[in-house]
Symmetry: C2
Subunit: 182 residues, 2 copies
DNA sequence: ATTGCCTATGCAACTCGTTGCATAGCAGGA
DNA sequence: TCCTGCTATGCAACGAGTTGCATAGGCAAT
């Protein structure tokens, strides 16, 4: 389980409430680790009970109070220990690949609009990555350690999206060829 | 949920027992959809109850009897309906990316051997893909629809592994630079 | 005025996925 | 001979993840 660790990293980068974490997971972090607010609140309570993080009540005017969490010593230790553990292989759930093989038993042409939709969403994500890179890393020759590591992860995301776009074009060409009766 | 659908596709390509399906999921299909034998048996029972698949008891000598499943009419219908439904966005769980960002709060050098291990396993998988391509698709100019679709999925796997290898090299270079104190 | 959205946290119920264990006969090697 | 491993199926318990709903005040637009 790595949701705890993903939350720890996020809190080390910047303390925040459960709600704020949920929004971060929707945006940046969620690109390589998804989580709903329910999961986050549940795990935060457990982590606080275990002493990994500390909470501070913050009163706000005009909106509900919030609990701002930050990483504590035992949390840092747990993260360091986890870093040294061997990682489990990534489990992939590529639904579109299942659909493509399923199309052999139905009409390949029925998948085209679906694949086009995927292509658009990957193109949009790539554009967002590139925009975020410009905004957050304007000068690539002056990055500290944290930024270097954030940037190498971002580069992975960018390359993944580029590769996926090229592959989806390949898939579309194949589907069009097959449904045209080629 | 798409485990049902992945199983249906596999049974349409070739009928088989739960045990055989589990091994297929370990090998080919498992590269884009993982499942343990427990999940598979549980889902097979449900699918049989729903009439999606039909079972036939097969006695064997020297080994336990098995139940060979094959896709039934309602299963094909369900698959066709699913093909036409919009797909949920793929949820990614990229633990290594979390670790890389976590390394900013510990020693980046501690991650190097971990990343090297990943690199090796991706290189091995790429080699297996390429070997499987040679074996299963010796003549790329004479493929039927099913093989065309299987091959375009395989091409996706190959490109994914190539991209991942290049990225892991990038990660390694970055980690080495940072831990050398550059 | 009312509708709908945003911040902020949480309960309850459910499904999905994993882990450990059990059975049971057969084959092969130390 | 004992141990390991393969085929083949399954139970039980747990942990992870999702979905629907609830509360509750404030803001902005219709």
């Amino acid at each position: 389980m790595a949701l705890e660790h993903a939350i720890l990293v996020s809190l080390l980068e910047q303390p925040g409430s459960g709600y704020e974490l949920a929004r971060r997971f929707d945006r940046s972090i969620g690109r390589f680790w998804t989580a709903t607010h329910q999961q986050i609140y549940r795990v935060l309570r457990r982590m606080e009970a275990d002493g990994w993080i500390a909470a501070q009540e913050v009163a706000q005017d005009g909106r509900p109070d919030k609990k701002v969490y930050s990483a504590a010593g035992p949390g840092r230790d747990a993260l360091a220990a986890w870093l040294r553990e061997p990682v489990e292989p990534e489990t992939v759930r590529h639904e579109l690949a299942v659909k493509i093989r399923a199309a052999a038993f139905d009409d390949p042409g029925a998948l085209i609009s679906e694949v086009e939709r995927h292509r658009e969403s990957h193109a949009a994500l790539l554009a967002r990555y590139l925009h975020g890179e410009q905004r957050d890393f304007p000068d690539l020759s002056a990055l500290d350690t944290r930024q270097e590591l954030q940037h190498v992860v971002l580069r992975g995301g960018i390359e993944y999206e580029r590769m996926t776009l090229a592959w989806l074009d390949d898939v579309l060409a194949t589907l069009r060829r097959l449904s045209a009766g080629g």
